[in-house]
Symmetry: C2
Subunit: 71 residues, 2 copies
């Protein structure tokens, strides 16, 4: 299991954060997600044998947000 924190640019409200959480929760291999508008970060716990960090970043970016850092 792997944990990655994605720094997200473009989050404008708590609604955005909640909706990105639902999008990430739908990805196969994702075990836990928290997304914070206040910190502009998504924390994702996932099985890297099922889903890649790149795919998770692409999921976040699809509606128009931008991942500016991962740690």
């Amino acid at each position: 299991m792997k944990n990655t924190i994605f720094r997200i640019e473009g989050l404008r409200c708590d609604g955005c954060a909640s909706t990105i959480k639902v999008l990430l929760d739908k990805e196969p291999g994702v075990k836990a997600v928290s997304v914070s508008f206040a910190s502009g970060e998504a924390r994702v716990l996932y099985d890297p044998g099922i889903v890649t960090e790149d795919r998770l970043a692409a999921t976040i970016e699809r509606p128009g947000y931008r991942v500016t850092a991962r740690q």
Copy 2:
């Protein structure tokens, strides 16, 4: 093919609208989606043999929005 307009309460910005669009696009049976923050509406074209109106409403509501009318 069926077209439903969902009136949505709780959309606070364009980012919310874009992210709900991506969520709806992921549903099997959905052919076209537009979501407008300005009008507070999602217009969805879908195959009612594959996905129900109730399921689409549930998808919109999962992040915390509320469907107040359908037409």
